[in-house]
């Protein structure tokens, strides 16, 4: 007798005859003609179904985040892994690189969580009190959402902020909070805001929950990986398959002879015993 296998649940999709289901909607009957690529990504991560005007904002977000220079570290991984001609390997490698990476857009989840926690309090606090609160609640030298490597300001923030400032069609409480926090942190702690904070704010205004926002940010960054995977695989450059030796510097140990290669010590290794003792488990 076979044992009953438990059933898993899914809120994602079901294949059907005639029309497929996706996130609670029929693809042909309800989504086709209504949704854009980015609003489908919003549904994919479990987010809300957006109004047409909100889809436009999300589309803008997806455009503004595009930084696709192949020299940027995770995109360079895409290029190097795709050097033998597979855009799939390239795309997968680039995305794997984002798992836990320093520059991961998944940080948007944390920035959104912090903004959401801050919002009710910030409404009650004047600027001085808010600065003091931020020192305690966001004590890191560089809290998530701050720090701009390689340039004085994050151009993506400037582009998005301009668009949101020009749009007065609906309240944007989290964007307003973002602007206030960004100004105060720059003035009092000398910190420049980056994309992950404004992304978190705009996504919260659109109705996403923090736990959906990391994946949403990842989806909007995908065009950068896609572009590099496609072009990198098409090029499959020999240069990336193996760099010229003149561009590589050896920093490893100096040449050495193994114990068994030293005539006087031949056989000595066999007499050794295993030595047990405290061993450190490091991350390095």
């Amino acid at each position: 007798m076979t044992r009953r296998v438990p059933t898993l649940s899914t809120a994602v999709a079901r294949a059907r005859h005639g029309d497929n289901s996706f996130r609670g909607y029929r693809v042909n009957a309800q989504l086709l003609g209504e949704e854009s690529m980015s609003s489908m990504a919003a549904l994919a991560v479990g987010g809300p179904r957006l109004r047409p005007e909100d889809i436009k904002i999300l589309d803008e977000l997806a455009v503004a985040v595009t930084v696709a220079d192949p020299r940027i570290w995770p995109l360079k991984v895409t290029r190097v892994a795709g050097a033998y001609g597979s855009m799939f390997a390239a795309y997968a490698a680039g995305n794997l690189c984002m798992d836990g990476a320093l520059m991961s857009v998944a940080l948007c989840q944390e920035t959104a969580r912090r903004l959401k926690a801050l919002a009710p309090l910030a409404a009650e606090l004047g600027d001085d009190a808010l600065v003091q609160h931020l020192r305690e609640a966001w004590p890191e030298r560089r809290p998530p959402g701050f720090g701009v490597p390689g340039r004085p300001r994050d151009e993506r923030v400037e582009g998005l902020a301009c668009r949101r400032q020009a749009d007065s069609s609906a309240p944007q409480p989290y964007f307003d909070l973002f602007e206030r926090v960004a100004d105060l942190m720059a003035e009092h702690r000398g910190l420049q805001v980056n994309l992950t904070l404004i992304f978190g704010a705009i996504a919260l205004d659109l109705g996403f929950e923090p736990e959906q926002i990391g994946a949403l940010a990842w989806s909007t960054a995908e065009n950068a990986f896609l572009a590099n995977a496609v072009e990198g695989a098409q090029q499959a450059p020999e240069l990336l398959q193996c760099l010229p030796s003149s561009t590589v510097r050896y920093d490893g140990p100096r040449p050495r002879l193994s114990p068994r290669a030293q005539p006087s010590k031949r056989g000595a290794a066999a007499e050794d015993t295993v030595k047990l003792g405290p061993i450190g488990l490091s991350d390095g």
């Binding site: 809120a11 996706f22 040449p255 002879l257 050794d272 295993v274 061993i279």
Partner: protein, 232 residues
């Protein structure tokens, strides 16, 4: 004619290194690994397993007994069945008719994820092995050593390796990780590497035994998924 201005941007303007740094392997025709000549020294005097130990740790095994214990533990740790995600995912990739390189890629990715997951479940083991914490009771299995664990203990005893971990009735994976740690695989990176390296052949065995394109031979509805969409 005026020369166009040099491009300017965060990459051009940054103070980045100019060369790629090699840390372990030299680029010469007769390469060296962590300083040892591969062809003239390692290939003549060491087994492939010992050379791999060197690659993973940066040093040769301390003794032949270390190597023997290491090989034993890897042999016990290595088996992966098709029920486990790495072989399942790689076999499914093969079924789809994917490129063989992609089958191996999926195998490696899923094995790495499995290794990371197992190591996370063993966080409390390392302080115990360093004599800095109590035995994590959740890692004990039953009241006595399970047969495979007893066999491993006996095999290790025969090569001169005793481990206090066997007093705690660990599961097989826990015992293997503990002994690897005692032998000198002392970082997460090293343990992850050993896990993936020793298990990959078993995943390969299952994955490439699958016949590409025979979609009906795969139990598509196992396990069942219950869709909870509002349009259901």
């Amino acid at each position: 004619m005026k020369k166009p201005p040099a491009p300017s941007g965060p990459v051009e303007d940054g103070g980045w290194a100019q060369e790629l740094s090699a840390h372990a392997v030299t680029l010469q025709a007769s390469p060296r690994l962590w300083g040892y000549d591969v062809q003239e020294d390692l290939a003549k005097n060491y087994s492939f397993v010992e050379t791999a130990w060197l690659a993973i740790t940066g040093e040769l095994p301390a003794s032949e007994a270390t190597t023997q214990a290491f090989e034993l533990v890897m042999a016990y740790l290595a088996p992966v069945t098709v029920a486990e995600a790495p072989a399942h995912a790689a076999g499914l990739t093969r079924l789809c008719g994917s490129n063989p390189a992609s089958v191996l890629s999926v195998a490696s990715v899923t094995l790495s994820q499995q290794a990371q997951h197992v190591l996370q479940k063993h966080e409390a083991l390392w302080p115990f092995l360093n004599r800095e914490g109590p035995w994590p009771q959740q890692l004990s299995v039953g009241d006595g050593l399970e047969e495979p664990v007893q066999r491993l203990r006996d095999a290790l005893h025969a090569v001169g390796h005793e481990s206090p971990v066997f007093e705690q009735n660990p599961g097989l994976a826990t015992a293997c990780l503990a002994v690897l740690f005692e032998l000198g695989m002392g970082t997460k990176e090293q343990l992850l590497s050993v896990w993936v390296w020793c298990k990959l052949p078993y995943v390969i065995a299952e994955a490439f035994a699958v016949r590409p394109g025979r979609l009906l031979e795969y139990p598509m509805d196992l396990p069942k998924y219950e869709y909870g969409g509002q349009d259901d």
